[in-house]
């Protein structure tokens, strides 16, 4: 465990050093591949004076995080009850399946022009785009989770005189939870894909906007810093979600213990 961490840390340092030397020796162009030292300076610049127009990195991170949270919470909050309903009622599932398959296949960012016409270029547009992307990923997983409960569980519960409400609350929902968490993780991934595109219009705040502005100023070092922070943000939230899952679903730990 510890040695593997030391090794992966060493690998990273060696890679960064190689990169640095490749640029210093003129093998890579600093404009295309800003060296690690340049990126470090860019981080300091973003933290102290800010970019563009003095927007500091914390503002960008905070704004992006807030937009994702709003869109994500909205999407999950809608997808869970709707998914539970559709997954439980077979007729509803049959009726909605084509619509859901169609709408979830529409790449979220392709809706951008339309959403701008409807809602302008303000905050609402960004939040709604994130929500749209997250919603379908979550919805289809909630439906599948409820629909594909192991029939053996249902049978066992029926022999124990489980009434319909208890069947739903104490069998179907717990059985569907692992799949719902998988959906929540997928939705988060979608949210991070959408955010960069959504922030490229009508704002200079947020990590997506930072990357966009950096492009117009030919600051590839800042682009990389933006990418770095988006990655870090995604990593942190995903880890938080996994942690939440081990707390809420302690029983599914043993189920995932499979090595190949």
């Amino acid at each position: 465990m510890v040695t593997s961490r030391i090794i992966s840390g060493l690998c990273l340092i060696i890679l960064l050093l190689l990169w640095q030397f490749a640029v210093m020796s003129g093998f890579l162009k600093p404009f295309q591949f800003p060296p690690p030292s340049r990126i470090g300076e860019a981080i300091v610049e973003l933290a102290v004076s800010g970019f563009p127009n003095g927007e500091r990195i914390w503002t960008h991170v905070g704004i992006t995080l807030w937009r994702i949270i709003q869109g994500y919470v909205l999407a999950i909050g809608l997808a869970v009850p709707i998914g539970l309903l559709i997954g439980t009622i077979a007729v509803l599932d049959k009726l909605t399946l084509p619509i859901i398959t169609f709408l979830r296949s529409v790449a979220t960012l392709s809706l951008l022009p339309l959403v701008i016409i409807w809602f302008g270029t303000g905050e609402l547009t960004k939040v709604l785009l994130i929500a749209y992307g997250c919603f379908w990923a979550m919805l289809s997983n909630v439906i599948a989770g409820v629909k594909y409960v192991d029939p053996v569980m249902i049978r066992a519960a029926r022999t124990l005189d489980t009434r319909p409400l208890a069947m739903f609350v104490r069998v179907v929902i717990p059985a569907a939870l692992p799949r719902m968490f998988a959906g929540a993780r997928m939705a988060l991934g979608v949210g991070f894909m959408v955010i960069v595109g959504a922030e490229m219009i009508g704002t200079i705040q947020g990590l997506g906007a930072l990357i966009m502005e950096a492009r117009t100023f030919y600051r590839s070092d800042i682009t990389i810093v933006g990418m770095l922070f988006i990655g870090l943000l995604g990593f942190t939230i995903t880890s938080g979600l996994s942690w939440l899952e081990t707390i809420l679903l302690p029983w599914s730990k043993g189920l995932s213990e499979v090595r190949r």
């Binding site: 022999t159 124990l160 005189d161 029983w251």
Partner: protein, 257 residues
């Protein structure tokens, strides 16, 4: 209903009347899994079903339990046609079928909770049963943390928790080692005689059937029908080495082959 000529005979607890089963009902070409099964099981009787793999034992047990519908015929419990599972019919499945999100204790208490038994009482019942199946100390483990045999024992405790008058058990000791298996057979007989239960028990082991039951029903395959019945009149506890038992074992073995 009342037949004066038979008034001396105790009424059957379970009556299986002309039960046939075909899984794909819309396709008459699919073979019958069960063909015209007739069987009456008395109150407090311990009946064992034996037969080769695939002969329809699980199917018959599920029909008695009200989980699977018969194609023809019906099953009566206490003179009333079975319309669904539960209601005094406890089941132990061939695969343990525990709820993975509940601990052993919560699994055992599940049925009591449905009946509105308070938590303190429920836990007490569950603790006793977990003790009975020899899993003291494993109350708070999740099914995934238990071995196959332990899971099966929790499933038995779960079926016993609501004290059902009928126990339907599908190879419940299949996953146990020989020693635990013998212990569990003794426990089951103790529970059965102490709590007055009617048991229908499926097993592949003829010697298990001989040690446990009042009657062994031998099923033939394709389609499943009753080939022969063997009453086992010996008092319990029984010894496998008893010459009469060995003779009966050979008899069943010959009919099976």
């Amino acid at each position: 209903m009342a037949d004066p000529a038979r008034s001396d005979v105790a009424p059957s607890k379970i009556e299986i009347c002309g039960v046939s089963k075909r899984y794909a009902t819309d396709d008459p070409d699919t073979p019958l899994v069960l063909d015209n099964i007739n069987l009456a099981i008395g109150d407090n009787e311990f009946v064992t079903l034996v037969g080769r793999s695939g002969c329809g034992k699980t199917t018959l047990l599920n029909i008695i339990g009200g989980l699977v519908e018969s194609t023809h015929g019906d099953v009566k419990v206490n003179g009333r046609t079975v319309s669904g599972p539960g209601q005094g019919k406890g089941m132990v499945f061939q695969q343990h079928a525990l709820f993975p999100w509940l601990t052993a204790l919560q699994n055992v208490g599940f049925g009591c909770r449905n009946k509105g038994v308070h938590k303190a009482e429920r836990d007490q019942i569950a603790h006793q049963l977990i003790e009975l199946v020899g899993l003291h100390g494993f109350e708070d483990k999740y099914p995934a943390e238990l071995s196959g045999g332990m899971q099966q024992r929790v499933a038995i405790a779960r079926a016993l928790a609501t004290d059902p008058e009928i126990l339907l058990m599908d190879e419940p000791f299949g996953a146990l080692d020989e020693l635990t298996r013998l212990e569990m057979q003794d426990e089951l007989l103790r529970v059965w005689s102490a709590h007055k239960k009617t048991v229908v028990f499926v097993t592949h082991s003829i010697s298990e059937a001989l040690v446990l039951s009042d009657r062994v029903i031998l099923l033939a395959a394709r389609p499943g029908r009753i080939r022969r019945e063997f009453p086992i009149p010996f008092p319990r506890p029984r010894k496998r080495t008893d010459p009469q038992m060995i003779a009966l074992y050979d008899d069943i073995w010959k009919s099976l082959a």
